[in-house]
């Protein structure tokens, strides 16, 4: 009986809480594809195919993945270099983009991949 009363109380309070809550959430993720133009301590600038420079913020949770020889392996910010090809999955936060994952390949590995005949 006591548990039943407690449950009813929680349900009533849950309804009250539901009615009182209103907030906004973040938008969907975006992909930024292009060549690294600039690397800062807390952001990178990517030159896209359209010739536009897009800045993406780097945060502590940003993950770095090196793509070479059709394989992905974990990397770190220090492995990035200007001129690398990047695919960044980012979350819009207000006017800025925050990187969730930065996948990259160096010009050398990209050139080696294109030189190889496809089987």
């Amino acid at each position: 009986m006591k548990t039943s009363m407690k449950t009813k109380l929680y349900v009533l309070l849950a309804i009250a809480g539901l009615v009182a809550s209103v907030a906004l959430a973040h938008g969907d993720k975006k992909h930024v594809v292009g060549t690294l133009e600039k690397i800062n301590a807390d952001s990178v600038v990517v030159k896209t195919a359209a010739g536009k420079s897009v800045e993406v913020k780097l945060v502590v949770t940003t993950m770095y993945v090196s793509h070479a020889g059709n394989k992905d392996k974990p990397a770190k910010l220090a492995d990035l270099a200007v001129g690398d090809r990047v695919v960044i999955h980012a979350t819009p936060k207000g006017e800025t983009l925050e990187a969730n994952e930065v996948k990259f390949s160096t010009p050398a590995t990209a050139a080696a991949a294109t030189a190889k005949p496809k089987s």
Partner: protein, 202 residues
Amino acid sequence: MSRGNAISLVIVIAIALIAVAAASILHDGLSSRAKPTALETMLARNARHLAIPAGARKLQNPAAETPENLGDARLHFADHCAICHANDGSGDTQIGRNLYPKPPDLRRDETQELADGELFWIIENGVRFTGMPAFGGAHGSEQDSWKLVRFVRHLPQLTEEERMEMERYNPKGPEDLEEEQEENDFLRGQPIQQKPEGTHHH
């Protein structure tokens, strides 16, 4: 203040609160994109606690903590759970972010402090009034659910290599597969596929 005045004051405050809540709903609606309030979160956790039978909490995990069991559960999680919970258990996916209530970050204390039996019961029976379905019965074996409990315990120590392996097992639609192929081709030196402003929605 007399008792009558105090009661009147309480009634007026209650009516004012209801009016504010009603105005807020009429103005903003009840979007599931909203973030649940601390009060709702607290109430929901207590309601979930009450929903789990006391006996379930005492159950012991029969699935041993072996690399094989963890590997099975990791790929199972990637295939069935990650669409809402994300491979790392953070819940940071398009569906996870926009559910109401949001799936919890499985790496945090609120989940890790649940008993093995509670986690098993939730996987098998789901959580009412949330996006968490019941995976028990016809949808899977109890052994798989116990292995998943092992994997949930492992989530705070998930390595980058494990996360990247899981990405290969995440369900993907034709558009996602095509997009992934284009991005990998670009990284392998192929010409860039031009998108509006170089960015596009996931």
